[in-house]
């Protein structure tokens, strides 16, 4: 028999989520004064804005400071069309989504490839330009005074009244937005975002199209922000430059950090708490923003995963049961006759250090090739050049007859070239099983559309996990499936990397020092498994390796 506390723990996050949802439904019934409802409505608008912000800030891991600008743009589209031209909700709302998305698409080209602070400050610059333009374009935007007299939400002649109906209307949009976000990210696609956020380098090497995923996240957050901006203007019935000012952005950022960056429940909790904060801290009067800053600072230092993340630590989700294994479907890769991989005269220098000087080699079909050299002789650099991570100064790499020298690394990986890393690259927070399953993203052709259209339990994720289980068994580490990768010993991590590379079903496998740090018995075991792979998988490998023992498996050495 289980006691009540045990049962609660077994249910995991379901309990706090249900309690939270119940409180949220009760809230407007208890606090039903007009002013309370207005604040509650505002919390819903911010919740929608933060759910959108989580795509780019949480899932794509990029500190974008444009969310406030997209919000303001949506607000102005609705404000100008509604107040000046008398258009109704059914026309202004879609346009308020569309324009921020178009702006996001326009700036994505130059801005999205920037990293960390470059990205953050460039996006801040764009937001400031938008604010200044709105202030300057007074005939259209009303300048610093804005435009009053925006109509309420009217659908087919029915006006949504202020008060409870408007609050319900807004929160219905929050529920819709939350469901779409959940639908997109609960399956294999969400797993791909997790890897891309934690280790972008690994992401490209398992064939994830990272720039596309970043773009998708950026556009989605712009759409949510536009929707929130439009609803905001319909609620307060006036649009002014305040909607574009930096403090909106700061509020959104604080809500995402306080609630949690990647959980929809976190967005709602963060928005609810921080919108009500000024009400609860009336004693501070206007300086409640100081408290805002202090809370943001305290959260980022003490609980970087946010309140929902902290709750998940107390109510850990039950690990998914280990799935049965299932053989991977055969993958036919159309490759030309002749050598599988041909490297011709590749050169690469880093500053004054010549790492590779006129390296040429050929790997034939069904061949295991060992690459031996002392430390610093350029073995890893060669692997990086072949996989497209490093562009050579001169020379040519052909894979299956196709020149791939100028290709992006993710395209090379999808074409059938997988690698392992000298220093293991694993996502420590994910289980061993999911570390392998995520490499099935290219095979499942998982993308935005597929994630949106999949059923409630993503079948692609379940299938990928069964395939991953098969590969874990192949490498003899099936019992580690449910363990977090960060908790695994080194020998298992090495084999896990190879299992993940195999999940791509590559025509060629590049193993960068696969035996580094392994004991002698582990090395022999690994060599046997690789030899067995060659028989079963018809998958030849190039083994850069400085240890003679490992290379006993290779037929030819360079």
């Amino acid at each position: 028999m289980t006691t009540l506390p045990q049962a609660i723990v077994r249910l995991g996050m379901a309990v706090p989520l249900a309690v939270g949802a119940a409180l949220l439904i009760l809230w407007p019934l208890v606090f039903s004064m007009a002013y309370d409802l207005r604040v509650f409505t505002l919390a819903g608008i911010y919740a929608l804005l933060v759910i959108g912000y989580q795509f780019v800030f949480g899932h794509a891991g990029a500190l974008a400071l444009t969310q406030g600008a997209f919000f303001g743009l949506g607000a102005y589209v609705t404000g100008i069309l509604g107040a000046r031209y008398g258009f109704g909700f059914l026309l202004t709302f879609p346009l308020s989504l569309l324009l921020p998305v178009l702006l996001a698409a326009l700036i994505a080209g130059p801005v999205l490839r920037l990293e960390t602070h470059y990205f953050a400050l460039a996006t801040l610059g764009i937001a400031q330009v938008l604010l200044l333009l709105v202030l300057m374009a007074e005939p259209l935007t009303g300048g610093a005074n804005g435009i009053p007299g925006v109509p309420g939400v009217e659908i087919f002649g029915n006006l949504v009244p202020r008060g409870l109906p408007m609050a319900i209307f807004i929160w219905a949009w929050v529920v819709a937005g939350a469901l779409v976000a959940r639908q997109l990210l609960r399956g294999l696609y969400g797993l791909a975002f997790h890897v891309m956020r934690d280790d972008p380098l690994l992401g490209v090497c398992i064939g994830l199209d990272i720039s596309r995923m970043r773009l998708v996240a950026f556009l989605l957050s712009a759409a949510y922000a536009g929707a929130a901006g439009s609803l905001f203007v319909h609620t307060i019935r006036v649009v002014s430059p305040e909607a574009l000012e930096f403090h909106v952005m700061v509020a959104v950022l604080a809500m995402a950090v306080v609630g949690g960056r990647t959980r929809v429940a976190g967005a709602i909790l963060g928005a609810f708490l921080l919108v009500h904060l000024p009400e609860w801290f009336r004693v501070f009067e206007k300086s409640y923003l100081i408290v805002y800053g202090a809370i943001l600072l305290a959260m980022i230092v003490l609980a970087p995963e946010g309140l929902v993340g902290a709750l998940e630590r107390w109510f850990p989700p039950q690990p998914a049961p280990v799935p049965p294994s299932e053989p991977l479907p055969r993958r036919a890769i159309a490759l030309a006759e002749g050598p599988l991989l041909a490297v011709q005269g590749v050169e690469k220098s880093f500053g004054g250090v010549r790492a590779l000087a006129a390296v040429s080699l050929v790997v034939r079909h069904r061949e295991i090739l060992g690459l031996i050299g002392p430390n610093g002789s350029g073995k890893t650099t060669l692997v990086n050049v072949v996989t497209g991570l490093v562009r050579p100064d001169a020379g040519m790499v052909r894979f299956g007859g196709t020149p791939v020298t100028a290709w992006h690394p993710d395209a090379i990986a999808r074409r059938g070239l997988a690698r392992s890393f000298q220093a293991t690259h694993l996502v420590d927070a994910l289980t061993a099983l999911d570390n392998v399953a995520v490499a099935r993203v290219p095979a499942e052709e998982m993308g935005l559309r597929r994630a949106l259209l999949s059923r409630w339990h993503d079948p692609a994720l379940a299938r990928s996990r069964r395939h991953a289980m098969q590969l874990l068994n192949t490498m003899g580490i099936g019992e580690a499936a449910a363990t977090r990768a960060g908790a695994l010993p080194h020998g298992v991590r090495r084999r896990l990397e190879i299992a993940r590379a195999l999940a791509l079903q590559p025509a060629l496998l590049l193993l960068d020092e696969p035996a580094a740090g392994l004991s002698e018995s582990e090395q022999i075991d690994l060599a046997d498994r690789l030899a067995a792979l060659r028989g079963g998988w018809r998958s030849p490998g190039l083994l850069p390796c400085s240890r003679p023992c490992c290379c006993s498996t290779s037929r030819r050495r360079v």
């Binding site: 500190l63 130059p110 801005v111 920037l114 960390t116 602070h117 470059y118 953050a120 400050l121 460039a122 801040l124 610059g125 764009i126 400031q128 330009v129 200044l132 333009l133 202030l135 300057m136 380098l201 930096f246 700061v250 950022l253 604080a254 950090v257 206007k286 300086s287 923003l289 100081i290 805002y292 800053g293 202090a294 943001l296 600072l297 980022i300 230092v301 970087p304 880093f350 500053g351 990086n384 991570l389 490093v390």
Partner: protein
């Protein structure tokens, strides 16, 4: 014309102090201090507060402002940098945004949102050199900022402390291995950066006024200067600061300098301070797209 350029150089000298602190923290910690702009504002308001109780020229207040701001910088590093130093740099970015909000709103609560004028540095009036008439304020800003920058250079090049700072900036782990107490050096860098930002605030407070919400504007200026000058290059940042300040001051007065521009339709709208700022931000984006290593910087190869 000359007066406009001198004003531009004066603004640039103050921006240079700001950008200098920004780039020093960036080099030592590879983190962006987003509160740097709010530190300028804090220094300016500190000068305002001091001068209302004790009406003396700004130059007398300067040492006191430097000291108080250095302590503030030390506090900033303790709450916003050290607890997060093993986390990704973005965490520090967010924590300094948080400190910036706190500074801005504390200032708002204490002083109100209206612009305030600080004390003049040496007293007002003009200096006449032959036929040229120059504002004494602008000239004294240039001289004081120049002296502060020269002092920074001297400390960096010729003292043990400076060598430690430079070693930490170049390679933190190596510096630690050599027995340099890196944490102290970093705390010192924060103190130094805050002191110089405060000095910039004091210098600007008389001509340009101080408002609690100035911070985000200043941080973008520092950032643009650093991007133009090449990420991490001290000399580049100083030059970048000078360039953007000159542009900001000269652009709105173009119709005065070149009278035919005054006839362009919408000239008053086009040659405005706001338009100058917009153009500056757009130029920043163009630089980021075309030359991410900055106009003066060298290409840095990232290791895979």
């Amino acid at each position: 014309m000359l007066q406009v350029i001198v004003n531009g150089v004066a603004l640039g000298a103050a921006y240079a102090l700001l950008a200098l602190g920004f780039v020093l923290i960036l080099n030592a910690t590879s983190a962006v201090n987003f509160a740097q702009g709010d530190l300028v504002m804090a220094g300016g308001l500190l000068a305002v507060a001091l001068s209302t109780t004790w009406p003396v020229p700004g130059i007398v207040l300067l040492p006191l402002v430097l000291l108080v701001m250095a302590l503030l910088g030390l506090g900033l590093s303790l709450v916003a940098y050290f607890p997060l130093k093993s986390r990704p740099p973005v965490a520090v970015f967010i924590s300094t945004i948080a400190v910036g909000i706190m500074l801005q709103n504390t200032a708002n609560a204490l002083f109100g949102a209206e612009p305030r004028a600080g004390p003049p540095l040496l007293g007002g009036g003009v200096v006449e050199i032959g036929p040229v008439v120059l504002g004494r304020q602008a000239l004294s800003i240039i001289v004081v900022a120049g002296l502060l920058i020269a002092a920074q250079y001297a400390v960096f090049q010729h003292t043990r402390l400076g060598r430690r700072l430079r070693a930490t900036a170049q390679d933190r782990e190596m510096a630690e291995a050599l027995g340099i107490r890196v944490n102290r050096v970093i705390a010192g860098t924060f103190a130094f950066a805050a002191a110089y930002a405060g000095a910039a605030g004091l210098l600007l407070s008389n001509i340009f006024f101080v408002t609690p919400s100035d911070g985000s504007n200043y941080i973008l200026k520092a950032y643009i200067a650093v991007v133009i000058g090449g990420w991490g290059s001290i000399g580049g940042a100083l030059l970048g600061a000078l360039l953007i300040a000159l542009f900001e001051v000269v652009f709105p007065s173009l119709p005065l300098i070149l009278p035919f521009l005054g006839g362009v339709p919408g000239a008053a709208w086009l040659f405005s301070q706001t338009m100058a700022t917009i153009l500056l931000y757009l130029a920043l984006l163009a630089v980021l797209v075309a030359r991410p290593q900055g106009l003066l910087g060298e290409t840095v190869q990232r290791r895979a």
